[in-house]
């Protein structure tokens, strides 16, 4: 059969032809354009629509941005500069307001001679976050740490920080570098102590306050060590009790007495001086740090098999999720005085932080509950089969996986909360968006400036929120195990 075939075919090519280039319409940019922009009538219309939108935006804002002025002392001066440079009737942005009011936007009404304190606090915050955020990658740590150190120290020097505090910052950062290169977990004790240090640096006052706050858990730990051989549960309860009792009834007076005996401290700054991004970031970071643990506890409570606990958690979560944040902030500013013993009043920023935390925690609880529900039942059963008790099972098996599943939701709750920090303007705090811009407009030199402050503040918020969402994507990729 094959013989006949071979004889009937006149010619058989036995070498490959050299590959010909594709036709011009099927190669390079032309092909890309045809495939991605003009593949059909609908697609072509969409492309034209897209081009029209870009053209419209360019016509509407292009020259306004191109003519922006960065160096002027008032809006009329800005307009003069624009008119001189670009001719009469030209439009232009006056970003000089950002330059002139930069300190006000960043620090609010914080005393200018103490600006270095918030700067140092946020530099050290980045250091403290290093083992938590970038525990896995040495190269990222090197970049972030170097940038943080350089920016913080330069800013502190420029703002005239006392030499003692510069040395203190350099010492901590040197230790951070050492820990980062050897074993990053060595930095964790600093991360744990940072909240106290940060609060003390921002608000100032007696050093004895944070010291005595720290004494509480130390006493609790000693109690735990003494009692734990007898009963672990009793030890835990007593340790918590000792800490709380010490904080409530001893710490305040003791700190006051110690301050009288041996005054030690830095100038105090009142909460009313806080404003701008300092306020937003303080509330945002505190809310993030507090709402995650509270959210986890609420989620576990809601899934508990104890009826009373579940009911309480459901009522709490649904109530908080059912009302707008503004009403909770009004509760903080107007009603809290009714609920507390007569004569007590505590800091408005602290009240706002509590409300923002509670609000975010309720949403966080729902996100984490979703993660817990998505975990296969086999994981819970495996934990039981290993004989782990409830807390060990949650800590070692359930929560690590559930939290990993819920990362996107957790981070978007964080982002939502950070954006919501702008609402503190309605309880009289100086947020960067509304109160600060109103304050800037209230001055005669910047009367009538609307867009530039909004664009600036929006841009900063965009950077932070977009950064957080990208970080969550990085984290998701990093924590991916299996599922390939």
């Amino acid at each position: 059969m094959s013989d006949t075939h071979a004889q009937t075919v006149a010619f058989v090519r036995d070498t490959m032809l050299p590959a010909a280039p594709p036709p011009a319409q099927q190669a390079g940019a032309v092909r890309w354009l045809r495939e991605n922009l003009f593949s059909g009538p609908v697609n072509t219309v969409l492309t034209l629509l897209g081009l029209a939108i870009i053209w419209f935006l360019y016509v509407a804002f292009g020259d306004w941005f191109a003519h922006s002025v960065w160096n002027a002392d008032s809006l009329p001066e800005c307009r003069d500069i624009i008119a001189q440079t670009w001719g009469e009737g030209a439009r232009g942005a006056c970003f000089a307001v950002i330059r002139e009011r930069w300190n006000q936007y960043v620090f609010g009404f914080y005393p200018p001679e103490l600006y270095w304190r918030p700067v140092m606090t946020f530099g050290l915050l980045m250091v403290a976050l290093m083992p938590v955020l970038f525990g896995a990658s040495l190269s990222i740590r090197r970049i972030v740490l170097s940038a943080t150190v350089a920016l913080t120290l330069l800013a502190m020097i420029a703002l005239g920080a006392p030499i003692v505090w510069l040395v203190f910052a350099v010492a901590i950062m040197a230790f951070a570098f050492y820990a980062s290169e050897t074993e990053i977990t060595r930095l964790l004790p600093f991360s744990a102590l940072f909240p106290l240090l940060g609060v003390w640096l921002l608000w100032g006052g007696s050093l004895w306050g944070p010291i005595f706050v720290l004494v509480g858990p130390v006493l609790g730990w000693i109690t735990w060590r003494v009692l734990s051989p007898r009963s672990a549960m009793l030890a835990t309860i007593m340790a918590a009790l000792v800490t709380v009792v010490f904080w409530l009834f001893v710490a305040g007076d003791a700190a006051g007495d110690a301050q009288n005996l041996l005054p030690m401290g830095i100038p105090a700054v009142a909460s009313s001086s806080f404003g701008g991004f300092l306020l937003s970031i303080t509330i945002g970071v505190a809310g993030i740090a507090l709402s995650l643990p509270l959210g986890i506890v609420l989620a576990l409570a809601r899934r508990s098999d104890m009826f009373l606990i579940t009911t309480l958690a459901v009522v709490f979560i649904e109530f908080i999720r059912g009302v707008p944040l503004i009403t909770l902030l009004f509760v903080a500013s107007l009603l809290l005085n009714y609920f507390l013993p007569p004569g007590t009043s505590f800091d408005i920023i602290l009240r706002v932080i509590i409300m923002v935390t509670v609000f975010a925690a309720a949403y966080m609880a729902e996100v984490i509950r979703g993660g817990l529900a998505a975990l296969p039942k086999g994981q819970y059963e495996a934990a039981d089969a290993l004989g782990l008790d409830y807390w060990k099972a949650q800590r070692l098996i359930v929560l690590p996986q559930a939290l990993k599943i819920s990362i996107p939701g957790i981070v978007s709750t964080f982002i939502g909360m950070f954006k919501d920090t702008t609402l503190v303007t309605f309880v009289g705090l100086y947020d960067p968006l509304k109160s600060m811009s109103d304050a800037v407009r209230a001055s005669t030199s910047w009367k009538g400036i609307y867009w530039e402050p909004y664009i600036f503040v929006g841009f900063i918020f965009f950077l932070i929120c977009f950064g957080m969402s990208r970080y969550s994507m990085y984290l998701e990729r990093r924590l991916q195990r299996g599922h390939r």
Binding site: N36, P324, F330, K419
Partner: protein
């Protein structure tokens, strides 16, 4: 097999309350209950003592006093002589108006953007991504303030529309005029007005509205009957009778007839004196708030829609194509039902968020529930406790009603798994 003796139940000892898992949870719950009750008692006791110290009482009687303030935009008749209760009701209605308008517009824009982000068109998909990222990553308050500033700072006063050659002209075929104080839109006029039904409390509903709603509801019911019948025929014979024109007819023809009978038409606003009249002058606070809520929520809805469509595995549409289904039927019968299952629950929470976010009306002075009950009423009567509690409970009830209603809808579209 030997029978093991049943484990003897050990006698109860007090230490089992802590060490035995069966009793421990009971102990724990009792302790928590006592703590919660103690905390509640502490709060209530503090409140009573504080109120006594201030010489205040806790009662809602103030709601029936004269309000004495004006509200710019009132969906139901309201004057300064009305009670605080009616002012709060006006505020609630204003909240509902902006929320419902916002939910509808955000859904439309969100679905369009979400689908466009998935389009093959490189340029358009990127543009929509930029839109979503910009709106999602900046505070809603910023958008409200910017849009409101555009209305108040850039748009002209009404008299810019005056004269032979005005500086500004009305848009949408001379129907809408944008000014720095309000947006003038057309109203509905009737040449053959059937009068109104009085619901009491000075609230009236036009008979024409009732008739048209009734016609639509009836049309919907008849449409359901027609589809049931078509299904029956299909089950019996295998071919489905064409019903789309019948459905369309029962839904539209009676309504159109009613519109013709009542002589319903648009009355465009026109400039008389210093202001537009004839149409409806919608306060810019409402328009700006509505636009900002719409765009902000639409960015989130777009992500939800996109995630929902991407969640349907590619094998599903390939299987549908392999069965010979056309793209439109594939979308309607295979992809959408499965995508909706993913889309609806987060969509519900976006609607809830929008409703709650409408309380940011405070930034532009739109008199919603917070502006009336939690704003002017609170300041005038000095009853913070009652006003804020009532406002929170109203918002809570609103949220619970929306989520209950949407959950019913969700259980209807949910894929029935057997």
């Amino acid at each position: 097999m030997t029978d093991l003796p049943a484990p003897a139940n050990p006698p109860f000892r007090p230490s089992m309350l802590i060490n035995d898992r069966r009793y421990r949870s009971l102990t724990f719950q009792v302790v928590v209950f006592i703590l919660v009750m103690a905390a509640a008692w502490w709060l209530v006791d503090n409140t009573i003592r504080n109120l006594a110290a201030l010489g205040k009482t806790f009662d809602f009687g103030f709601l029936w006093n004269r309000a004495g303030y004006d509200i710019p935009q009132t969906p139901i008749p309201y004057t300064a002589d009305d009670t605080h209760f009616r002012a709060a009701a006006v505020g609630l209605l204003n909240t509902l108006i902006v929320s419902i308008l916002g939910c509808i517009a955000a859904t439309v824009v969100g679905i369009a953007v979400g689908v466009a982000r998935l389009s093959n068109n490189w340029l358009f998909a990127r543009l929509m991504t930029v839109f979503v990222e910009i709106f999602r990553n900046m505070p809603l308050l910023l958008w409200i303030l910017i849009i409101y500033a555009i209305f108040t700072e850039i748009l002209p006063a009404p008299n810019a529309y005056r004269g032979e050659d005005p500086a500004w002209s009305m848009i949408l075929w001379d129907n809408v005029a944008l000014t720095n104080r309000y947006t003038a839109i057309p109203t509905l006029g009737m040449t053959n007005d059937p009068g109104s039904l009085d619901l009491g409390a000075r609230i009236t509903i036009s008979w024409a509205t009732i008739a048209i709603v009734a016609a639509l509801v009836l049309g919907w019911i008849v449409r359901g009957r027609i589809r049931d019948h078509a299904q029956k025929v299909q089950d019996k014979t295998g071919t489905r009778p064409t019903t789309w024109w019948k459905s369309l007819a029962v839904m539209t023809v009676p309504t159109l007839l009613l519109i013709w009978y009542f002589g319903l038409h648009l009355v465009p606003p026109s400039l008389k004196g210093f202001n537009f009249s004839g149409g409806l002058n919608v306060a810019n606070a409402l328009v700006a708030l509505w636009l900002a809520l719409t765009l902000y929520t639409a960015a989130f809805i777009a992500e939800i829609v996109r995630a929902g469509i991407l969640a349907v595995s590619k094998g599903q549409s390939e299987a549908a194509f392999a069965l010979g289904m056309r793209p439109k039927r594939t979308m309607n019968l295979v992809i959408l039902p499965q995508a909706l299952r993913v889309i609806i629950p987060p969509l519900i929470s976006q609607y809830l968020n929008l409703t709650k976010n409408s309380s940011l009306a405070i930034a532009v002075g739109y008199m919603d529930l917070r502006g009336t009950l939690g704003g002017t009423t609170l300041n005038q009567t000095g009853r913070e406790l009652e006003a804020i509690l009532l406002m929170m409970l109203t918002y809570l009830a609103l949220s619970l009603i929306i989520s209950a209603g949407m959950n019913v809808f969700n259980s209807r579209v949910k894929l029935k798994e057997r």
